[in-house]
């Protein structure tokens, strides 16, 4: 009987070790999708200490409120309603522009066909016809310019709150191999190739971040990777992003020093 149990135990142990769950647990992170790599790390929740007390009642009475929502679900189930939406004026404008472009294209096509059939100008009447044709092209061009202007105005008038971070300069220790930019629980890692490192050394600017952000003050954590930067303390940068404006943050890395935790990158902020 004992002889039978040992192979069974070994089989179970083998199955456990080879099971897919075990394989998944050893993976460092999921494969990158659309440039985003999700990493899994279990640690104690470290909530940012709030400077301003907010939603106090909700926080103090969360169990009560959750219970109220639970009752709601038990009584009526739960449903989100989809509603018909009024079509955006912008969409209507784009549709109109699209129709006008299609119509202009058809007109040009017809006129081109007709022009190809006319080998020679046979009379003064045909010269007048050609002139009319040129007028038509001119009108079409003007209409096209007006459409482009409408599109440009629409584009410029719809700026969301966004942040662009660019870096320049190289620390004395040499160009980093990667830059890590973190805010709250999201970290962006930007690898720098030797060519890009050289470009920074030659005075080039590198854009490392361009995203829509919340209109508020942000605290960004910047870390550098590369030889000499393993134990360097991160640098914190505060930047305010006004609503519906594009904020540029330029960081000069030349001032950073891995041995000096107080060193800060030179920074410049502007909006447009």
């Amino acid at each position: 009987m004992k002889v039978m149990r040992i192979p069974l135990f070994l089989f179970l142990l083998g199955s456990l070790l080879l099971s897919p769950r075990h394989a998944v647990a050893n993976e460092p992170g999921t494969e990158p999708q659309n440039g985003v790599r999700e990493t899994l790390e279990v640690k104690r929740a470290d909530h940012k200490k709030r400077k301003h007390e907010s939603l106090r009642w909700l926080r103090d009475n969360r169990a009560f409120l959750r219970a109220q929502f639970d009752q709601l679900r038990l009584e009526i189930g739960y449903e989100r309603d989809g509603e018909a939406q009024i079509i955006d004026d912008q969409l209507l404008l784009l549709q109109q522009l699209s129709s006008e472009i299609a119509s202009a294209s058809d007109l040009i096509h017809d006129e081109t066909e007709r022009a190809l059939q006319q080998d020679l100008l046979m009379s003064i009447d045909e010269l007048a016809e050609l002139e009319a044709q040129l007028d038509l092209y001119e009108h079409l061009l003007i209409d096209e310019q007006l459409r482009l202007l409408a599109l440009e105005n629409d584009f410029l008038g719809r700026q969301g709150t966004a942040l662009v971070v660019v870096v320049r300069g190289v620390p004395r220790e040499g160009a980093p191999t990667a830059l890590l930019l973190q805010e709250e629980d999201t970290t962006l890692r930007i690898e720098l190739s030797p060519d890009q490192g050289q470009a920074l050394q030659d005075g080039a600017l590198a854009q490392i971040y361009h995203e829509f952000v919340e209109p508020r003050e942000h605290r960004l954590e910047l870390r550098l990777e590369g030889a000499g930067w393993e134990n360097a303390a991160p640098t914190f940068i505060d930047v305010e992003t006004p609503r519906d404006q594009l904020t540029f943050l330029e960081l000069d890395l030349a001032a950073l020093d891995p041995g000096d935790p107080e060193a800060r990158p030179g920074s410049q902020v502007w909006q447009r």
Binding site: R66, Q68, T161, E214, E217
Partner: protein, 188 residues
Amino acid sequence: MRSRNHRLIFGAVLLVSLAGSRAAAGDHPPYSAAHGLDLARSAARSWSPDAELVYVENDEDVDASGLAVRWGYLFYSQRKDEARGYTIRDGEILEATELEFELQDPPPLAERWVDSDVALEAAEENSGRKYRQEWNGRLSTMLLVRGAFYHKKPDLSTWTLLYTSEDAPALWVVVSAENGKVLKTWRG
């Protein structure tokens, strides 16, 4: 001569203190809850495009007109399964924080709701004013949520006003955020 000097000094001190108090009030003008929503929503949509407003609460005391210097707005994203709050003062987001606890799939507030000044006026006329006067009470909290406080019409967004006093049980007044009418009150 001495008493004249004293009067001058007293007058100067009074002027300075009045100017100071006016400046302090002017620094942070109170506003009604709906007036901070646009900014909060703009931030929430940057955080997650599917974010929907699920809860509003006064972050500072509400004055007699239903205005507060700071309001808190909570948004929920189904896609992220997370909630994020914004506290707004002076037309600026003072802080954005994620809830440190889970609020499972809270219902989004209705697109349109009566503002905090309308809700307060209704509550005061109904029983709030009487409660304050009788029990030396005060309005401690105003919150806007959907479904949780009026199960007869769970689809309805409601303002809930909580009056408290040291000498009596609290007074709860639920006001319809659809039409500003008081739906129910209770003590406890």
